[in-house]
Amino acid sequence: MADDLKTPLLDELEKGPWPSFITDIKSMAGKNDYCKDLLGQLEKSYEDKRGYWKHGGLVGVMGYGGGVIGRYSALPDEFPGVSHFHTVRVNQPSGWFYTTDALREIMDIWEEHGSGLTNMHGSTGDMVLLGTRTEELEPIFRALTAKGWDLGGSGSDLRTPSCCVGPARCEMACYDTLAMTYDLTKSYQDELHRPMFNYKYKIKMSGCPNDCTAAIARSDMGIIGIWRDDIKVDQAAFAEYVDSGMDIQGAVVDLCPTGCITVEGKEINIDDSDCVKCMHCLNRLPKALSPGDDKGFAVCLGAKAPIVEGALFGSVIIPFMKIEDGDFEPMHDLIERIWEFWDEHGTSRERIGEFIERISLATFLEGIGEDPSPKMVKAPRDNPYIFYEEYYEEEGASASEE
C-alpha cells in the first residue's frame, strides 16, 4: 500500500476472522492509482458518512447498450485515480467453469486496462471487473472479444443468463442447465446487448428444486428442474444409513413438510402423491434417494429484488416442460410470447412480476396463450366477487333468467 495513505476507519474492517476486501484493495494500492484513490475516497466516505460516486449512464462500447456501468468520482481533484471508475460485466461461461488459462487471460486484460479489482461473480452471474476509465472501454472490449469473451447485460435488457453446475457436477440435475444457458445466451444476443424491454429481464436455470442459483427469488424467469414420477429408492443403501446410526426419524421423517415419509425397520416408504419436492430427504439420504426418471423443469415467473416495488418470489407459469432431442424451440416460443405481451402492455420500469400482479394472472395467461391450471395458483383466492363469463355470453341475457 502507498505509505502516505492513512485509513484508520477502513483499518477497522481488516479486524476479525473474515477475509477483508480492504486488505485486498490495499494489496493493489501500491500498483495503481485506481486502488490508492479508491481507498482514499472510501475513507473519506466513512469520515463524512456519505458516498462520493456519481452515476454515469451514457458510457459503453459502440453498438452495445449494456455491459458497462458508469461511475465517476464526485471528488475528481482530490482522488484523480477514481475520477472515472466504470464497471465492466463479462458474460460468464455456463456453470462458471473456467480453466486457469482463461482466468489469467481475463486478469491480464484487466490489469492492463483497469484497476485489477474483480468481483467473482455479480448477483446476475457475470464476472465483474471493477474500475476503469472511459477511454479504456473500447480497448478492453476489443481485447476481450479477440479472446472469445463478450460483455454481459445491464440496463433494460436480457441480463446474462446463468445456471448452476447442473449435470456437469451434480446428481440431482433434472435437465441440462448448461446447454439451456448456452442456447438462450446465443439465441438472444440482440436482447442481451441492445436494451429493448420495459425493464431488466433475468433468466436463471437451476437443475433441481435445491435451486442453487436462487432462481425462485432472483430471476424474472426461473427455470427449475423437477420430476413427475416417484422418487427412486435404493432400499439397500437406506439400510446402510440405518445401520450407520443416523437419526432417520429426527433428521428426515420429522422434517418432511407434508409428512409423506414412513419408516419400518430398515425400509423407507414415500407417498409421492403428497411429496412437494422440497428435496430435504434426497439431500440427507443421497445414496438411497434420487429424482425420478420422468425429468424436466418448471418455469416460474416474476421474482425480483425490492427495487421500485417490493420484493417478489416467482410463481409457476409452466408446471412441467421437457427439452426433447436438444430442440429448444418450445422454450424460445414461450419466452418470445411472454416478451411480446410484456412489451406491448407493460409500463416503463415494470418488471414482469409487477406486470402480472397489475393485470392479474388470468389476463396474463390469456395474453401469452397459455391455458390456466390449478398448478399455477400460488395462493387461495381471497376475493369472493368473481365473474362467470358464461352468464354474459348472450347480450341482455343472464344465466339466472334462463
Partner: protein, 81 residues
C-alpha cells in the same frame, strides 16, 4: 406487413429522438410503438433492425438512468474530464 424500409424506420426514429432531446428520454419500446402507430403492422424483427441501424450508425447511443433509453450522443453532465 407495412411496406416501409428499415432505413426509413431508422430515419423516422432518429427524428423522434432528436425532437424529444432534452425533454423526454425515449425507450426502444416508445420508438417501436410510434412506428407501429405511423405505419400500422410492423414485425418485431423490422423495428429491432431499425434500432440496430440507428445505434450502429452512431446517430444515437444507449443511455441509462433507471431504465435504458435511446439518446443523441452527448457528454453527460456528471462526466469528469
Amino acid at each position: 406487413m407495412a411496406d416501409v424500409s428499415i432505413e426509413q424506420l431508422a430515419d423516422d426514429m432518429f427524428e423522434l429522438v432528436s425532437s424529444a432531446a432534452g425533454q423526454k428520454k425515449l425507450k426502444a419500446g416508445d420508438l417501436t410503438k410510434a412506428m407501429k402507430e405511423k405505419y400500422g403492422d410492423l414485425s418485431r424483427a423490422d423495428t429491432k433492425a431499425a434500432i440496430k441501424q440507428l445505434i450502429d450508425s452512431g446517430r444515437c447511443v444507449y443511455g441509462y438512468f433507471g431504465g435504458s433509453s435511446i439518446e443523441l450522443p452527448r457528454v453527460e453532465g456528471s462526466a469528469n474530464e
